[in-house]
């Protein structure tokens, strides 16, 4: 039976983990490679890096991070943030990323998704959808949630599936950072409309939220950052809890 995945996400800026917390056994809390290794040793099903480096001159730092991490972690590694072109995707894959997530570029030009999935295979193309509720529908935001495009999120999800995306990483902008739980309605609507896996993101504050994302939101995988990053729960605790709640997980 296919297991639901738990994916811890790390925000990386200029090659360093944002607000790194000193866990036991961690020599350098700001080192993404060390943090990723702790997650993978703890049973993370995949690792996700979100590069939030603002300036262009420091953008190369992520390549170095990915290269080092892929030599230490032998679970799938997804990298997103600032991916603009097929060439950017190629560079990240060559450094050892297994999947690349595309956000703004996919909205601006769906050809990037079509071309890259044809070139590298759908399995490594994740489209990241940042959506915000607007009365009865959800609209897509780009540029890290700063720009409203007015595009309907559900329609966009279907379009991305048709363009060749292998997975959708759906983040609720309303819930992101609030710790009140995923936007279940958004997740389940998108999940029922597409036949590719949906990864739920944005708003996790406790382990029941992960359960809800899978059971009610029909997500194939659940992504969380702060609950793991600030040590509230370990990946192992999260998996044991999901197992207790009858969700199939890899333990």
């Amino acid at each position: 039976m296919l297991k639901n995945r738990i994916i811890p996400c790390l925000d990386v800026k200029n090659g360093r983990v944002v607000k790194g917390i000193n866990f036991v056994d961690l020599k350098d809390a700001g080192d993404p490679v060390e943090q990723a290794k702790i997650y993978s040793d703890g049973g993370a099903d995949e690792i996700c890096f979100l590069d939030i480096t603002a300036s262009n001159e420091n953008r190369n730092t992520i390549y170095d991070v990915v290269e080092k991490t892929s030599k230490k972690c032998f679970v799938p590694l997804t990298v997103g943030g600032g991916v603009r072109s097929v060439d950017d995707i190629n560079k990240l894959l060559n450094c050892g990323a297994d999947k690349v997530s595309i956000n703004t570029a996919a909205v601006q030009n769906s050809e990037v998704v079509a071309e890259s999935s044809k070139k590298f295979g759908s399995q490594c193309i994740v489209v990241a959808i940042d959506a915000k509720k607007n009365s009865n529908n959800w609209e897509i935001f780009t540029h890290g949630g700063r720009n409203n495009t007015g595009i309907d999120a559900i329609e966009f999800a279907e379009k991305m599936e048709n363009s060749g995306a292998g997975e959708l990483l759906v983040t609720s902008m309303d819930r992101d950072g609030t710790q009140v739980g995923y936007d279940i309605e958004l997740m389940s609507k998108i999940s029922s409309k597409v036949n590719i896996p949906v990864i739920a993101s944005g708003g996790v504050g406790n382990l029941d939220h992960l359960v809800d994302g899978i059971k009610l939101g029909n997500a194939s995988a659940v992504l969380a950052a702060s609950i793991f990053h600030y040590g509230k729960y370990s990946v192992k605790e999260a998996k044991e809890y999901l197992d207790l709640k009858g969700i199939p997980v890899r333990i």
Partner: protein
């Protein structure tokens, strides 16, 4: 010992390279190349594969003499070869992804799309699934039955001769996820992305 990972522009193979480099001990040299002479003189060959069946076959055929060299290595010389993902699928006679494409024909059978049972099952089949070990394959030494492996694929290999199947996984039906025919080994899952248990499989192959 020389182990060659065949680099034929079939997409991203850095994870395969990293995983083999992680497990090899001294005296094992890992080459990443499509150089025919280097492949011929290798002790073992790894055939990775990402993207579609057609794109991988096209890429293999695009390098002059490569298919013949692999045939010589695996069929004539009967030296150990491990196919991963589409690398395994290409063992078949024929594949139906994109368009009907002739495979290497090493293990007779076909590669078809997984039956998603009217959208009941999402495709690609992505994530960790348990393997049911059906026969004592050499690459499963010290691997427990029902171990988790990482999968990502939409097509499955259906061999004519079921005795080559060494493991299946349950997704929509019992999908063939590992084969062994004499010196030819293949995994539909990605040992290079399957954590410590996957590295064990790689080590088993190297130690053959």
């Amino acid at each position: 010992m020389n182990v060659t990972i065949v680099d034929y522009n079939s997409g991203n193979i850095s994870s395969v390279i990293n995983s083999f480099k992680e497990v090899v001990k001294e005296k094992v040299n890992i080459e990443v190349t499509s150089n025919l002479n280097k492949i011929k003189s290798s002790d073992k060959v790894v055939l990775p594969g990402q993207g579609s069946f057609k794109s991988c076959i096209d890429a293999l055929s695009g390098i002059s003499g490569l298919v013949d060299t692999l045939n010589e290595f695996a069929i004539n010389d009967k030296k150990p070869l491990l196919g991963i993902c589409v690398g395994l699928q290409m063992f078949a006679d024929i594949g139906y992804e994109e368009t009907e494409t002739k495979g290497l024909g090493w293990i007779s059978g076909k590669v078809s799309k997984i039956d998603n049972q009217n959208n009941k099952y999402k495709l690609p089949h992505i994530g960790w699934n348990e393997i049911n070990i059906l026969k004592d394959s050499k690459i499963f030494k010290d691997i427990d039955n029902n171990s988790h492996m990482y999968f990502v694929h939409s097509y499955e290999f259906i061999p004519d001769d079921k005795s080559v199947i060494s493991a299946t996984t349950d997704y929509s039906s019992n999908i063939v996820c590992s084969v062994e025919k004499e010196n030819i080994f293949g995994t539909q899952f990605h040992p290079e992305k399957s954590d410590k248990i996957g590295l064990q499989i790689i080590e088993n192959f190297i130690n053959l």
